[in-house]
Amino acid sequence: MQDLLPEDMLRFRLIEDVFRTCCLNWGYQEVRTPTLEYLHLFTATGTLTPSMLSKVYSFLDWDGWSGERVVLRPDGTIPVARLYIDNLSGQELARLFYVTNIFAFEGTGKENRERWQCGAEFFGGAKLAPDVEIILLAEEVIRRLGISNVGLQLSHAGLVKALLKELKLSPGEEAKMTNRILEGNWQALTKAKSTNPEIERLIAALLGLKGKSSSFLYNVRASFPKASQDFKSSLEDLINVTTLLDNLGCSYKIDITAIHGFEYYTGICFQFLAAGEKIGGGGRYDSLVPFMNGEDIPACGFALYVDPIMKLLPLEKERRGDCGILVKGKELTPEIVKTCFAVAESLRDAGHPAELDFTGRKESNYRWVVLVSGKEPSPFVLTDCIQRRRRDAASIAEILKVVSEG
């Protein structure tokens, strides 16, 4: 758990503003879901893994004698999918975005139990163009935030599922292997013994090689002609997306392990990395809406993780320093206090942030300081803190004129 201090909030709002602007420009609409949701929304197969579910904050509500538990939202996508099913499923397409906090227990003390996400979901968009759309939208947000050296990694949930199927594990073993993989233990896949050496070769190749263009995928297709139909069809899907990205000049790395914690992905998956940390991820999840008893609606989406992104943004210099104005009363007489409030109100009405001070403390980090003495003929002294110049002013109108001219 952590506090967000004024400087953190400047970064937070910058991320939020850039994200909101980009999403609105791409035709996405903002939604907000409740912090408390029912637990069963997240226990349905194919949503969160048992390991993630063991870390959710769930409890009986004050009217929870029926045993129905509520949960502090542990994920952003599932509640938005519920919102879509409950309210917007009549729409052929729904492009939605949100800024939300999610909660999960974290026992190491290294991370927060409350984390923030900026997410966008595209319901009704069948594969290819919408897949590319969400990748490019996420990339645009990251670019506009000025974060450099960002890596985009691509994978495909269908490829992983096809490989698991080929291992011919028992249903229990397959579920365990899926959990291990989703928790990041990809080595478990190499340790699984297959009766088919071709599969072991394929797994070793996909875990060992990282391609940088669709050519790599063409090579995989050519090297493993005996791979299963499911594998081939997922590979084709990934080839189509990467070819489009190649044509659009978008650089990426193909890394089969670029699937993070969620089991609901069915198609392309991606994640963004910067300074060694994951700063976002997403993918296609065509089964989620039908699984939650909605119609058979394809969907894809992504989330950017606000907490690591905040660390990457350059320390914002005090924004107040650019435009803030301090209105100081020389004395604490009723007349001077009244005049100070009037000056500050006029400045605010003209669009300038204005702060009041009657303590006589030494001012810092302001663009202008207006000292109100109330003595005619120059009841105001205006200081330009950048030019380090002082001048008298006879009226509020004169102050406004000087400040506006900069």
């Binding site: 069963h40 226990t43 349905a44 197969t45 048992p50 004050w62 009217d63 929870g64 004698w65 045993g67």
Partner: protein, 476 residues
Amino acid sequence: MRNYQAGYIKLALPKGRFLSPTASLLAEIGLGFQDYSDKTKQYRIRSARFPSLSAKILQEKDISIQVAVGNYDLGICGLDWIEEFLVKYPAGALVKISSLNYGEGSVHVVASAESGIANLNDLSDGRNDYRIVTEYPNLAEAFALNLRMRRFRIFPVWGAAEAYPPENADLAVLWGKSGADIATQGLIPLKRLLPVTAFLIANRESLENKDLSQILTCFAAKLTAEPPTSIENGLDISEELKVSRTLWQAKEINLALPDGHQQAPASQFLKQAGLALQGYSEEVSSRRPSADLDWLGIKVIRPQDMPLQVANSNFDLAITGEDWLLEHLYRFPSSPVKKLFALGFGTVKIVAAVSQEMPVADIDELRSLVQSSKFAPLKVASEYINIADRYLRDNHINPYKLIPTWGASEAFLPEDADMLIDNAQTGKTLKQHKLKIIDVLFRSSACLIANKDSLASPDKKEKMEFLTQKLRAGLL
């Protein structure tokens, strides 16, 4: 910061099922405690051989928690309660040292023979909302999550989980001697979660920093490799268990009667009221007694569990204690459970008590003492968590920490808690343990409770009134 130099080693020993075999084991390995027997009335016992070793006799459910929080360095208790703790708090401070190789039975997931659930696949494939009743809510939740059950609700109970399926629960997670034993209760064992053997456990910090070697050496000959703690595949039921089918039929009105201490006076009361029951006496006791009213279904469960069960419409009426009703209503203020009338037996006082050594005479003086930081936070042991929480808040005791217990809260004072909130009949037990009452919260006796919706239901109203009138007659 804990003191590792003092050399005192604290051991938590179990009451109940493991008391006898544990006492024998300790005697055999030269760690015997003279007063560790079924007959003892003490909680604190000292080792004759090791002056630095002291032990306390606790409820098994409390031992894993008490060792984890560091009140005890070592403990002995059943694997079921250890895993119940560890499955929820895997990163906690509890370390399993070794199985002690005695114990009996296993924790099973069971379904009623009437439920139509024959194996685990039926559970993960289905879209039903499964009700799971259990004394092991954490183990039950982990089981449901790992099986990817899409929708489930867990009803923690104080006991008698086997009595709930099929009408009041779809599944139960409970202890059973064997699959065959479970089958005789009309239940199908679907999966064996873990075998219940006694385990030696330790607090991690103690094990890492304190010299416990003298004591551990005594156990050396008994320490063995850990037996499997979970069995991956469902229990092999190819041995064709003979599941005895309980003849169960839905009844119009359902009444819950208490087991335990309340059973004898409740049975007496019902006799007085002229309600003839078969299977609810000291001689013949069944979980499903029958009455001479063909529309009345009766089940015997723990009084602690009744308000929640009545709120869920599993029962229309129940005989429980006013204490447990209040405990429920503090947790669920809008619950549809209503007290109809007190029955005049099983009267106890719910009291706040502290050690006789504590220099306070009432709750106001205690508040001042806590404010002076001498006992901050105040550690309060209680089996009535919601009543205790409300009482402490209403009396502006701040800060405080609640220690949930499963009865016998007096065992916790003064070492592991500063105050208890518990029931007392005469106060004699409290005095014996050098405790004094500083406040009486309220008096509680057995009462008849009802579901408000059942009372208002046109289909049930007449029979509910008939039954309550009949029971009211027992008061005269």
